[in-house]
Amino acid sequence: MTVRASSELMTARVRTSTAYRLRGGLAMILTYAVLILIAAISSLPMFWMISTSLKPYGREFVFPPEWIPVPVVWSNYIDVWGESSIHLYTINSFLVAGLATFGTILSCSIVAFGFARLQFFGRDLLFGVLVATLMLPGIVVLVPTFILFHHLNWIDTPMPLIVPWWFGGGAFGGAFYVFLMRQFMLQLPLELDEAALVDGASHLRIYWQIILPLAKPALAATGIFSFIHHWNDFLHPLIFLHAETWRTLALGLRFFMFSETYGNVGRWNLMMAAAVVMLLPVLILFFSAQRYFIRGIALTGLTGR
């Protein structure tokens, strides 16, 4: 890599005149300067979050602010983990996000298989309906679904956050995932299905043993998006969960902000430590599966929220 780059640089040097090279060099330096500036501004909030989470009590309101915490107080994390119910919220978040994601992958991939690989009456019309639900603002269905879940006695249970996702997500945004996986499945050659049919395989088996394994990149993208979406979701837990039993991290963080022990006395270091705890799983997921993530966004134009 380096060898090739430097040899290209050499030939470029031989070919261009001194004046041109200077201008090119200056443009290059300016470009990097802008890139680094934007990178710095982009990372500022996250840097500030981590820096504050390691500050000793009282140093969070010093002005001008101290960029590097002195001394570094790792025990903030132990305090947050031990003194609050954050461990409960973390377990809840993992359960809700995990179960919803599992249901999304399963149900949306079956539906995508139907739309991508099978012929049936009204298929394209129904797919149009599915795409149209993407345009429906979630807020319009929020009131009636709340009433529905209220009558089903599902309020204060994790059911409203999980069950719709086992049925393609309804108007909560599941159509994105069907769309993504259908796009992917359309690219796989139809001969695969035909050959399997000749060998006597059922369509369910073709879905499960041929298409699903081949659609792994799309499944991975769906899984990552879905997990992060549910992990970060604030509005739906806010509406459907009022008691503490099932409170998720997103809700819990907001309660910290207004609680007696943290928010009211401005324990910003502990609040930021809790925020980092919430951020960590997302970061790990993002870095371990970055390529699926970026490709998935480009495929669907999904906003990732």
Binding site: L35, F63, Q119, Y207, L253, R254
Partner: protein
């Protein structure tokens, strides 16, 4: 044609067809159930509720168009609408410009560009709750980071979220940290622009700016259009940041439409009025989407869509 085929084919074939249809529906049945229960039913039910008074305790009571007339006479309705429009029409163009600028930089073939791609995208994965709380802290008028940075340039401290005129701009600035998704979509669009076109324009003597304006922009105009439509739909529904950071204040400066709807529905349990508000929002979003689509014929260029 279709009838001719149906007549010519033996009955057994029809049965296989019938089974094929059924099989298709079996595979998409999870979505059909989900669509009926969690999309279609709520939409129709909400349309019904919009003409009722309903507090969850007693049965919905039909009130005709009273919810809508009450809305028309409600001062806060216009405040919420105005705030939301302000936020949308300021933040969406800025978001698109920033995302496109970043994507153009990231499309350069430079060493270490992948590292920059990751860094530029990273703020977008931060959970919104976490980032809003963080911004509340950074916007603090007394000890916040933003005022410290203003201080570097000799500028006075600002009130940010505590100041009625600064609060909305503060929300716009906050929204600029989450343009990663739009940026990646722009980047994908830029990478699909054939280099041959750029080179041809370059040979014809077009400079960087002219190439950008006359080659790149038309080629990625569908992507700009997509980001614009999605951006407007999303911005009209701004909620979480306002709910956590300011709860609509100061002096209703950040009372956004969905926050106001939320209060009616889930704090006062006025489900009928909230449903009516939801339908007005849906109508507004549909109108803007329609305007967007109509205007797009004048500026969006689809390659291969005829001369």
């Amino acid at each position: 044609m279709a009838t001719a085929r149906a007549l010519n084919q033996p009955r057994r074939r029809d049965r296989i067809h019938w089974r094929q249809h059924l099989r298709g529906y079996a595979f998409i049945s999870p979505w059909i159930v989900g669509f009926l229960m969690f999309s279609a039913y709520p939409v129709f039910y909400s349309a019904f509720l919009a003409f009722t008074d309903y507090d969850l305790l007693s049965a919905p009571e039909f009130v005709g168009t009273r919810n809508f007339t009450k809305m028309a006479g409600d001062r806060l309705f216009y405040t919420a609408l105005g705030n939301t429009a302000y936020f949308t029409f300021i933040s969406v163009p800025l978001q698109l410009a920033l995302a496109l600028g970043m994507a153009l930089l990231l499309n350069l073939k430079l060493r270490g560009i992948n590292l920059f791609r990751t860094t530029f995208y990273l703020p977008t994965v931060v959970p919104q709750v976490a980032s809003v709380i963080l911004f509340v802290y950074m916007y603090n008028p007394e000890f916040g980071v933003f005022n410290a940075i203003l201080g570097w340039f000799g500028l006075p401290k600002l009130g940010w979220l505590a100041n009625p005129t600064m609060a909305k701009p503060a929300f716009v600035i906050m929204s600029l940290w989450h343009v990663g998704a739009q940026m990646v979509i722009f980047l994908a669009g830029l990478q699909a622009v054939p280099t041959a076109l750029q080179e041809a324009a370059s040979i014809d003597g077009a400079g960087v700016l002219r190439r950008f304006w006359h080659v790149t922009v038309p080629m990625i105009s569908p992507v700009i259009f997509f980001n614009l439509v999605i951006g407007i739909i999303g911005s009209f529904q701004v909620f979480t940041s306002a709910y956590i950071a300011t709860d609509g204040g100061p002096k209703h400066a950040t009372l956004f439409y969905v926050l106001w709807l939320y209060r009616h529905a889930f704090e006062n349990f006025r489900m009928g009025y909230a449903s009516a508000l939801g339908w007005i929002l849906l109508g507004i979003i549909l109108i803007f989407t329609a305007i967007n689509f109509a205007a797009s014929r004048r500026w969006v260029y689809y390659e291969g869509a005829g001369a």
